[in-house]
């Protein structure tokens, strides 16, 4: 979807009304779908817990009813494994999808996905640096930032990667697809090399936690890492939609946006920082999970148009929905073992990405 298509869509007043009505219904449907898959997710797992007991356990957790009648494992699985994991899947899914939508708007380019353009890899490099050097070189920082060390290091890595890719790929107000993807490849390679180097000097103990970053997993979810990631994800989730109108103006081109009174540079910096924050926090708690940021905004744009006022909240809902669904599959298909979640998102996302390239082949040449 290039700048002209975006611009036409935003500028056409007749379709605007239909679209926003459709968009509002879509948001409502997505919220309902998310709720349904959340309930399903809480109910399904390797350990069978009947629905009435789940309700009872949840009730007892908030002080209603007697906790003593529940088996200890059941209680723990529902309250300390499934519930934080469910919330984490939703947070990470919406962080990736909203960041994807925002980056695509910023670059005016449909292939800007945190994974493809290297933001996730940069964030992973930041996190891996802390894991390997945290006890020695970066000790002061680790001691000072506590549980936020990892998300903040990932944020810094993601921010550096975004700024770099932006500098590399921007040409006079627009971003050619080829340059963007090539810059993404380069950044992924450099970040991968950095991670590889750290892997080489890591000891065995650290190496074990490193494999997690390349695979992507929600298996480590707990209330404490949820607490660490939530503020850093929720802030961008709430702040980005505020910028929706400015981002819409962006779609018309930077100079037009400037004439419309949008403070272009200001907005750019805000969007880049907020997305890097969300992706950084997501990567810090779940490793690199690909394709969510690419697929989700695309589906929505095809369905309800490019208006960021609906696209951003819609992406948050659909991203949460899809990642939760993927995690539900990952946890249950080969139980009691678990599939890597990145495998499922790539399985859906890869073919989708190819189809997208095929359909739009003409536009990029």
């Amino acid at each position: 979807m290039n700048a002209r298509v975006f611009a036409a869509a935003v500028a056409e007043p007749e379709t605007q009304g239909d679209r926003s009505r459709r968009a509002r219904w879509t948001l409502l449907a997505l919220a309902a779908g998310l709720l349904a898959v959340a309930v399903l997710s809480l109910g399904q797992g390797a350990l069978p817990v009947p629905p009435d007991r789940i309700v009872g356990i949840l009730a007892s957790a908030v002080g209603l009813g007697d906790a003593a009648r529940f088996n200890h494992f059941e209680m723990h699985v529902v309250l300390h494994l499934r519930l934080p994991r469910l919330l984490l899947a939703m947070l990470v899914g919406s962080a990736l999808a909203v960041s994807g939508a925002a980056l695509q708007g910023l670059f005016r380019n449909p292939l800007a996905d945190p994974g493809l353009v290297g933001v996730s890899a940069g964030a992973a490099l930041g996190a891996v640096t802390v894991i390997v050097l945290g006890a020695t070189w970066l000790h002061g920082m680790t001691a000072w930032l506590g549980i936020y060390t990892l998300p903040i290091a990932a944020f810094i890595g993601g921010l550096a990667a975004t700024l770099l890719v932006y500098r590399l790929a921007q040409q006079g107000g627009y971003t050619p697809v080829a340059t963007l993807l090539l810059a993404g490849i380069a950044i992924n390679a450099v970040a991968g090399a950095g991670t590889g180097l750290l892997t080489f000097i890591a000891d065995d103990q650290q190496l074990r936690s490193l494999t997690f970053w390349t695979m992507g997993s929600l298996g480590g979810a707990s209330w404490s890492n949820l607490a660490a990631a939530a503020p850093l994800i929720l802030l961008p989730m709430l702040a980005l939609p505020v910028l929706a109108m400015a981002m819409n103006a962006f779609l018309l081109g930077e100079s037009v946006a400037q004439h419309l009174g949008v403070r272009v540079e200001h907005i750019k910096i805000l969007v880049v920082t907020l997305t890097a924050m969300a992706v950084g926090a997501a990567v810090a708690v779940s490793g690199i999970i690909g394709f969510v940021g690419l697929v989700v905004p695309h589906l929505l744009r095809l369905w309800m148009g490019p208006d960021h006022r609906y696209l951003l909240p819609g992406s948050a809902l659909l991203g949460a929905f899809l990642l939760l669904l993927a995690d539900l599959l990952a946890r249950n298909v080969v139980a009691p073992a678990e599939l890597p979640i990145g495998l499922i998102t790539a399985l859906v996302g890869g073919p989708f990405f190819l189809a997208l390239l095929l359909r739009r082949r003409g536009m990029y040449s």
């Binding site: 390797a46 350990l47 494992f73 494994l81 298996g219 480590g220 890492n225 080969v334 073992a337």
Partner: protein
């Protein structure tokens, strides 16, 4: 861990005097066991406690019967709920099991987790068996098994005392294309070489690190040790030798390449005595098999 170590020591001492260790609330705790780690599972079988196993990880491939137990996945990517769903009363796991966050989750759920530390010496191999026996309340069986392993390793040690030569050995792991990993300092691989009376020709680094064919040639090993699985991954013996620069080493020229099953070679479990014996005979042709009981 320390508590467990102390208990083992106590158990061992009491065992010496023929007194059974104090009965801890035992039966309930070790009734349904999940074992993670190839040689941990092997030891559970060797101690005759296999009927208590309700799940194992994918590295538990020996004995054959272990393969038919429910799988909880690869030892480094375990799933907390998956493990809890088998309703275990004990998770017996190699130190390598993880990720750490999942082990923490499992402990927090109230499931006892006994971790078995890695072994890199005769004493530690023996201790591993004691620890597993202690954890399963099979102290007597562990005493017997550990004694047998220790005796075997000691016999090799004594036989080697009469040998002056310490041949230069390297141990490589390969998973297909790319440089193979060589066993450096502080690895089970180096421990096996040392126990069998060789010296590690690649001791300039810690852990398993990739080495170039050139470095392999420069190390000039007299003997090369390869796991069977690596030879298979590289497409047979000839391909394995050519791929990693081994064909230019004295070891390959004199046909001194030892190929053993991975778990047998590096497991540090009940069969380690046999594995060390086999290696020692390969390192020291002058040793007659009869000299080692």
């Amino acid at each position: 861990m320390n508590v467990l170590r102390r208990r083992v020591l106590l158990g061992g001492l009491l065992g010496l005097f023929g007194v059974a260790p104090v009965a801890v609330p035992a039966a309930s705790r070790s009734g349904r066991v999940i074992s993670v780690g190839g040689s941990v599972t092997e030891t559970v079988f060797a101690l005759g406690a296999a009927e208590r196993l309700v799940g194992v990880d994918t590295s538990s491939i020996f004995p054959e019967a272990a393969r038919s137990l429910p799988q909880v996945g690869y030892q480094r990517v375990l799933s907390a709920e998956g493990i809890l769903s088998l309703q275990p009363t004990l998770l017996l796991a190699d130190e390598q099991a993880g990720p750490a966050s999942v082990i923490t989750q499992i402990r927090a759920a109230g499931l006892p987790v006994d971790t078995v530390p890695s072994a890199r010496s005769r004493e530690e191999v023996v201790e591993r068996i004691h620890l597993i026996g202690q954890s399963l309340h099979r102290d007597a069986a562990a005493q017997a098994l550990a004694g047998a392993v220790d005796q075997r390793l000691e016999a090799v040690e004594q036989a080697l005392a009469h040998q002056d030569q310490r041949p230069r050995v390297i141990l490589l792991l390969a998973h297909g294309r790319g440089s193979p990993l060589a066993a450096g300092r502080d690895t089970q691989g180096e421990a096996m070489i040392r126990m069998a009376g060789g010296q590690n020709a690649l001791h300039g680094f810690r852990g398993y690190k990739p080495v170039s064919p050139e470095a392999v040639v420069a190390a000039a090993p007299e003997v090369v040790v390869l796991p069977e699985q690596s030879v298979e991954a590289l497409g047979g013996m000839d391909a394995a030798l050519a791929a990693s620069g081994l064909d230019a080493t004295p070891a390959a020229r004199h046909g001194r390449v030892v190929v053993l099953d991975m778990l047998y070679l590096l497991g540090m479990g009940p069969r380690t005595g046999e594995a060390v014996t086999e290696l020692a005979l390969a390192f020291h042709p002058a040793l007659r098999p009869g000299r080692i009981p």
